[in-house]
């Protein structure tokens, strides 16, 4: 096991920022939708990507999944796995928006609740895709470097506490780091 270094590498702070941003956006998006599940289902339907019967389940489940993945990322719990889930969500959103854009369907993305038909001039597909690409990048970074400060993972996967160790902790006793 590696000892906690006195100074954390800068990458860990980038991961902290990345997981807080991605997790925060997912949490907010989920919370705004969870009180309006019908609207969420309607939004999923307007994308016209999934079979009708599936849209109700996806629309209702999506806000819950967003909230939970968001909370996991914010708290740094199962960071890598959560980041994989968050990135997959972003990938799905990008595909969805790109597909309605390509098919010429005029809708608001419904990303933060609401959503519906809008005038073609009011669609913001490039901005929405750019935003989700940025979030996907944050997710991908976190998958690559899941270690970060202030993470539940630090406790979850902690090395045994030295105080529990009756064995004299000479330098020689430690396993070679990495």
């Amino acid at each position: 096991m590696t000892a906690v270094p006195a100074r954390r590498p800068w990458q860990e702070w980038v991961t902290l920022a990345a997981r807080l941003v991605l997790g925060g956006v997912l949490l907010v998006a989920g919370l705004l939708k969870v009180t309006q599940l019908d609207a969420s289902v309607q939004s999923v339907r307007l994308y016209q990507l999934l079979p009708w019967e599936v849209t109700a389940a996806v629309g209702a489940a999506l806000p819950i999944v967003e909230i939970i993945v968001g909370l996991l990322l914010i708290t740094g719990t199962f960071t890598r796995l959560s980041a994989v889930a968050g990135s997959l969500l972003m990938l799905a959103f990008i595909i969805g928006i790109a597909s309605v854009w390509a098919r010429g369907i005029s809708i608001d993305c419904g990303c933060f609740g609401g959503g519906g038909e809008v005038e073609a001039s009011q669609t913001q597909y490039p901005a929405e895709i750019a935003r989700d690409l940025g979030l996907l990048l944050a997710g991908a970074w976190t998958v690559w470097r899941p270690r970060s400060p202030f993470a539940v993972d630090g406790w979850l996967f902690a090395a045994p506490a030295p105080s529990d160790d009756p064995v004299p902790t000479n330098e020689d006793d430690k396993e070679p780091t990495r």
Partner: protein, 264 residues
């Protein structure tokens, strides 16, 4: 302490620590998974609530058997008359405009049996406007169908649409004012108000929106109101708009638009 003992102790400790970490991870993982599954199940069940008819729910008497629409002039349509479906949302300003321009002509054609006019209640603007006025107006109109005043009630709702989109409909307007205007009184008024208060036709209205969304996506490729289908085929609104409502032959010309779209 011999080197051997120490080594054994350390291995045992490492194993115990590993076990502890595993227990923690599995415990937290199981808890997260449980919350996820319970949350999703509750959300799906909650979302399905009110979509199916429950005890005490009322189906409007002039609803079509498939639950999609309400016949505005039941039994009037001549044989071969096109089925004209009007999709509307009571909070949609363009629907109000449409009613003002062509509502009278549509009613003329329907009352003389030239078209089989059916109203299809949509409520998606509730979600866009974050209120429940479309559903409440839909419930009120369908409750009025029980009293036999559906068409008139429908017209009055649009006539009283608030100038500002999203202001919604007051309960007193839907529950007291409009029934008085269209002449629902006495026992009929009592049962109308009970129907509105208990939201007895809510399941019908929700299903109507659901099936309406389905048909709009399938036929018109987008969910917007007002939309007209004739015999299940999209009617171009610009064709309708080409008919001058003040033209003496407007009704006949409008009928031609519907017939052309229906492929009759």
């Amino acid at each position: 302490m011999t080197q051997n003992n120490r080594e054994r102790l350390r291995q045992a400790q490492a194993a115990a620590a590993k076990q502890q970490r595993l227990t923690r991870a599995v415990g937290v993982g199981a808890a997260v998974l449980a919350v996820l599954i319970i949350g999703v199940v509750i959300a799906v069940l909650f979302q399905n609530q009110g979509k199916s008819a429950t005890a005490g729910s009322v189906t409007p008497p002039h609803a079509t058997s498939d639950g999609r629409a309400i016949e505005v002039y039941p039994g009037k349509a001549k044989a071969g008359a096109p089925v004209v479906e009007l999709f509307f949302d009571y909070q949609c300003p363009v629907c109000k405009q449409f009613e003002g321009l062509y509502g009278g002509l549509m009613n003329t054609l329907a009352s003389s049996g030239e078209i089989d006019l059916r109203y299809r209640t949509m409520t998606f603007l509730d979600q866009n406007l974050s209120n429940d006025a479309s559903v409440r107006a839909g419930i009120a109109a369908t409750c009025a169908d029980v009293a036999g005043s559906y068409g008139a009630f429908h017209n009055e709702i649009f006539a009283n649409q608030p100038a500002q989109e999203g202001a919604g409909y007051e309960d007193t307007l839907l529950r007291d004012t409009i029934p008085a205007t269209v002449g629902i009184s006495g026992d009929a008024l009592t049962s109308f108000q009970a129907c509105y208060d208990k939201q007895s036709t809510k399941a019908f209205v929700n299903t109507s929106n659901e099936l309406g969304t389905q048909d709009l996506l399938a036929i018109s490729k987008s969910v917007g109101t007002p939309t007209i289908h004739a015999n299940g085929k999209a009617v171009s609104l610009s064709d309708v708009g080409a008919v001058q409502p003040t033209d003496p032959d407007a009704a006949a010309k409008l009928l031609q638009v519907f017939q052309k779209a229906a492929g009759a």
